[in-house]
Each structure stands twice: as structure tokens, then as C-alpha cells.
Amino acid sequence: MTETASHTDDSPSDQSTAPGAPGSRSTLDRVNGSSILLYVVLIAMGVFYLTPIETGLVTSIKTNTAVIQTGPFTPPGPGGFTLAKWQAAIDALLRGMGNSLLYAVPATVLSAFIGSLAAYGLTIPDWKTHYKAPLLALFIAGIFIPYQAVLVPLTQFWSNMAPLNQWLSFLWAMGINNDYAGIIELVVTHVAYGLPICTLLFRTYYKNMSEEMVESARLDGASLRRVYQRIVFPLSTPMFAVVLIYQFTQIWNDLLFTLVLVSTESSAAAPVVLILAGLGTSLEGQDFALRMAGAFFAALPTLAVYILFGDEFAEGVTA
């Protein structure tokens, strides 16, 4: 950039011949000034966001002595480097990862799909407003119910009204650990609590969909179900990306429901968050390197989801 500016300074003859030249120098300066500021801010933000991640990453590959002897964000020396902590973290968390995927994937997909269907029903068909409005109000009220408020009713529900442990006894007889009832409870609970926000997100999206296009499909002979299947659903891809990323991150990271419904990290069905919570803590103190390695490992699936749906996500957010 500076090169361009000096070039303009050195050749006044060019300036006089080029049309609009007198104004171009000050424009160039202004662009330089604002872009320098922009880059400074961008770099500062980059440093701000990346420092904790860098600190965590270098800590996770240090030996216990290196953690004490080196600064938090300095890389370990040749003697202080080890992958043992990652090995230990993966060993401890791998079974939890499996369990987490077992409920996070179905719960995410189900809540997105049902939310999309519910939003379609509340938006596209010309059903009367006084039927749709109260339903929508219920959905929106659902968004504002705090998790803490439902913890007791939730345990009551799963132990008294829907005792899965008894209903599914044939599964346990087949040799499956009965702790896995907790996984099914987590799926249903997360679908129920994710549904309101999913519905609202899809509804906003469908509200902006061309009404004439849907009407055109109806006149083309498509039933409500076919309109959803062939027109609305395929056009919802960007919003599905948003909802899938959002729901997956929420469900994967949630600790409260797992504590209530599965409760112990020793359980065969313990999700990754439950094991991670106790990883590297003992009476002797905290194993920082192990905790960092565990945190990074447990975060990998959410990272993968972002990368997988990133493009559609951007499209959905800006839609």
C-alpha cells in the first residue's frame, strides 16, 4: 500500500494526465488510514480469541514439571513435551464420546425436523389465526422456561409417569446395560426442550418464503404434505444448518440434564461432559495438562459440525 502511495508522490506528471487525479491522493490516504485501523482491530481480536486456545493447546502437551516451570502460553521445551496427557484423556473420554453421540445426534436431528414441521404448520397453511396464535404462544412460552425450574418435575416424570427402566426390561434381558434408559430419556428431554426455539427459527424463515411459490405448488396439484416434501423442506437447508449447529452444540455441552438423568460418571451410559467434569481433579490437586487435553478432545465433535455446515450456516444466518 505504501508503495502505491509513494509512486503517486513521485510522478506528478501521471497525476495531471489521469482523469480525476487531484482527488485520488486524499482518497488513497483515507483508504490506507481506515484499512490500517481495520487490520489493527482484526489482529487484536484474533489475539484476544486465540490466546486462551493457544494456552490450552500448549498446556495439554506439557509434562507436569513443564506446566509448573514454564509460563502458561510458552511452548514446552524438548524435555517438557509429552502426548501422554492426550492419550490419558482419550482413554478416559472415548466411551463418553460414544454415549454423547448416542443421544446428541438423534436429539438434534429430531428436534430440527419436528421443529421444521411444526413451523410449517404454523406458517404456510391458511388455517385460521385464532387456531394458530395460541399454539404459537405456547411454543414461545416454552423458550422461556428455565431448565432449573423443571429439574424436579423432570425426574418425577421419568421415574413415576414414564418409568423407562421397567418398560424396556426386555432390552436389559438381552444384555444391554439398563443405564442406557438414561440415554433415551436424554433424547426425549432434549427434543422437548429444543423444540420451541427450533420452531421459532424455522417459522421466521418460512414467514419470508414466497407465498406465491407455495400457492403455485398448491395449484399445481400438490397436497400440504407434498408441498412440504418437495418445496419447503428442500428450501430449508440453510435454516437446517443453523438449527443443527445450534442444537448440537447445546445438547452436546449440556451438563444439567445429564447430571439429573444419568447422574454418575461411573455409569456405563455416562456422557462425555459428565466424565470431563471430574477429569484431572483429585485430592492431590488439578492436573492442568490432562484437563486441557480432555477439553479439546471433547470439543472436537462440535468443531466438526461447524466445519461441516459452515457454508449453509452463513447463508441461513444472513437469510
Binding site: E215, R218, L219, D220, R230, P234
Partner: protein, 382 residues
């Protein structure tokens, strides 16, 4: 093959406590294969009428029948009606081929190869076979318009509904599509209802035009009947560009007295007027003759205020010479080759056989211009 009948069709929208009557007891009989243009200003209920025929709006009262069957409670998808929307409403995630086959796939049990054949025939008819594998987003407005038409034509429905299909096109393309649509409709011979606010489209395209205002039918007739023999002042003023000149007049015996001039009538006109005295005199701009000297009783001294040259003709705004009214009082059109300049003194001749007289309170036409003159015979429809 069937007639479409609208029988006292009414649409009332509820707005909080208010009731808004969008369409008021509208009756139309549309013959099989006929092209009817529904025209009117914004908010006259023309689109609502179309949407009721399509089944996209419920009917508050009255009946819509297609071939004798009542359509009121038939769902949109079962009506065998195709509609072309103003926004084209193409499915953006499907190719042109997908857009055109969608209707046949959803509404018929035709096998895939038969559908493909029909889609290709229709694409040939519309001269768009090279677009079949593109997405709507890759097409120009005019091409999208053709695809929207193709999507309707390929289904071979009982009725085409078109809701201002040409209004998103530029002027040149619009004129071209206008003729092409007429040609297509002639070939296909499918009953068509075409909604527009554009009076050129109304005049040029329809076998008959239905003029709506405030949800009520003002006139249903051939374009030339509506133009030359309007039922009322609204129709007279709506059709024609520049629009008809109107003057509020009082009848005094055989004379119509306006603020700025007086107009003598003969028995041929007075016999139509009854005993109404508050009247409106109407004269179309092209019926005013501009002459050099006042020789007849219907000649008036005027001063040219503004001239708008259109090339083929001039629109001339005139003021009566005696009275300073402050505004334009008379609009006339003359040949584009005629030299008329602002400030010129000129005589406007208002021939009696071309005047219209309306009742000022009801707007009803009491007297319309005579159509007996020989030069009109070749223009009359059919």
C-alpha cells in the same frame, strides 16, 4: 372444456371489527375458450376475484362454477386450474424442467417419459428448449416469465389464471409478450382470465374485458364497446390515454352550461337525457378537431398551454380563450406532424356526434357517442 360462471360472488375480509367488502356480488359468465381481461385500479378486487377462482381465498357468498360443478369447496389442488403469478413464483431449487414437470407429477398419474415428452413439446412451443436444464436464478426476467407460462401450459388445465404476468417486464418485452400470449391463447383455446391494471393490455388482449371498481363490476363487454359505449363515467375515464375530458355542466333547455363555455344540443342528444339537469359532458381527446377558424356552433376559441410531442401524435393542453381558469381545461390529440406551439391561438371543435353525457350523481351514461359513422365498421369486433 367448460364455461366458468361467477354467480353473485362476494368476498368480505374481517379487519378487527370492520368488514371490508373486497368483491361485491360479482357475476361473470365466461365462455369456454374465451379470453377475459379483468381490469381496474389498485384495490378494486380484481386479484381477490382471481384468487377466489383459484381457491386461494374462500368465497364469502355466491357460487363459482366450472362446467356446471360448484367449485366453492373444492381444494385448490383439485380444481384443474393453472395460474401465472406476477412474481412468476418459480421453484428456485428445481431446474426449468423440474419446474415444468412438477404440476404433471403432482396432479396426474402420467408415466415419467410421457411427462418428459410434454415438457419438451411445451418448451419448443415457447422457444425455450435450451433453458430446460438451468435453474430459475440463472434466467433473465423475460425467460423466467416464459417458464412460468410454460409451467401453466404444460398441464393443459381447464382454466388459465394470470395475475399481472407482464408487469415485471420492460416496456418492449411486455409489448412482445402481449402479442405472443394472444397467439398462444388462440392456439390453445383455453379459457383464460387475465388480471391487469394496464389498460393497454386490457384493450388489446381480451375477447371481452370486465372493468371493476370498488369490488363492483362496472361493465363486461368487448374492448371497443367499453371504449365507445361506456356504461358510466368511471369506465369512460378509466379507458383511454390521455383520458376523456369531463366537464361538470347544468342543462338549461337545449344548452349545457359549463363554467367556461356553453354547448348547444340537438334533439338526438336531448331525447336521451330525460329530466336530469346536473350532468357531466365527456369528450375523448382524439375526437376534438383543431381548426383555424370558428365556423360552427361547437367551435371554441382556445390558447395552447402545453404540447407533449409523442412522435406519432401530439398531446395538446388547451385553455379556453375567454376565461382564465388557471388550469388545463381541455386535452386534445393531433397528428404528430402537425405544428402546434405553446401560446398559439387555436379553435377546438367538439363534434356533437362524439360527445358523451353522464348523470353527475350516479355516473350513469345517459348518452354515448354514435357509432354509426362508416369508418367505424371495419374496426368493430367480429
Amino acid at each position: 372444456m367448460a364455461d366458468l360462471e361467477l354467480d353473485d360472488v362476494t368476498k368480505v375480509f374481517q379487519d378487527d371489527s370492520d368488514e371490508i367488502v373486497a368483491v361485491d356480488s360479482l357475476s361473470l359468465d365466461i365462455d369456454d375458450g374465451e379470453f377475459v381481461v379483468v381490469v381496474g385500479p389498485s384495490g378494486c378486487g380484481k386479484s381477490t376475484t382471481l384468487r377466489m377462482i383459484a381457491g386461494l381465498e374462500s368465497v364469502s357468498a355466491g357460487e363459482i362454477r366450472l362446467g356446471g360443478h360448484v367449485l366453492n369447496d373444492v381444494k385448490s389442488q383439485d380444481r384443474d386450474i393453472a395460474m401465472v403469478f406476477q412474481s412468476y413464483a418459480l421453484y428456485p431449487h428445481m431446474s426449468v424442467r423440474g419446474n415444468m414437470s412438477f404440476g404433471l407429477e403432482e396432479s396426474t398419474d402420467l408415466p415419467g417419459d410421457e411427462i418428459a415428452k410434454r415438457v419438451e413439446e411445451t418448451a419448443d412451443l415457447l422457444d425455450i428448449p435450451e433453458l430446460l436444464d438451468r435453474r430459475p436464478g440463472e434466467l433473465s426476467g423475460g425467460q423466467q416469465q416464459r417458464v412460468a407460462l410454460g409451467r401453466a401450459i404444460v398441464r393443459d388445465p381447464e382454466v388459465f389464471l394470470m395475475d399481472e404476468p407482464l408487469s415485471n417486464l420492460d416496456a418492449k418485452l411486455r409489448a412482445q409478450m402481449r402479442t405472443e400470449l394472444q397467439r398462444l391463447q388462440d392456439d390453445l383455446d383455453t379459457t383464460t382470465i387475465y388480471v391487469t391494471h394496464d389498460q393497454t393490455e386490457a384493450m388489446t388482449m381480451g375477447d371481452r374485458i370486465a372493468i371493476l371498481d370498488g369490488g363492483e363490476l362496472q361493465q363486461l363487454a368487448t374492448p371497443l364497446e367499453c371504449y365507445h359505449e361506456p356504461n358510466n363515467q368511471f369506465v369512460a375515464g378509466f379507458l383511454g390515454e390521455p383520458s376523456m375530458n369531463f366537464f361538470d355542466v347544468e342543462r338549461d333547455g337545449d344548452t349545457l352550461v359549463a363554467e367556461t363555455f356553453e354547448y348547444e344540443l340537438t334533439d338526438a342528444v336531448t331525447s336521451d337525457l330525460g329530466d336530469a339537469t346536473d350532468l357531466v359532458l365527456g369528450i375523448r381527446p382524439e375526437d376534438i378537431r383543431l381548426v383555424a377558424e370558428a365556423t360552427e356552433s361547437h367551435d371554441y376559441e382556445t390558447v395552447v398551454d402545453v404540447v407533449e410531442p409523442m412522435g406519432d401524435e401530439n398531446t395538446v393542453y388547451l385553455q379556453f380563450a375567454d376565461v382564465d381558469t388557471g388550469g388545463h381545461s381541455l386535452v386534445a390529440t393531433t397528428s404528430g406532424l402537425r405544428q402546434v406551439g405553446s401560446g398559439d391561438q387555436i379553435v377546438a371543435r367538439i363534434p356533437e356526434e362524439t360527445i358523451h353525457v353522464f348523470d353527475r350523481d350516479t355516473g350513469v351514461a345517459l348518452h354515448n357517442r354514435s357509432l354509426e359513422s362508416e369508418d367505424l365498421v371495419e374496426f368493430s369486433p367480429e
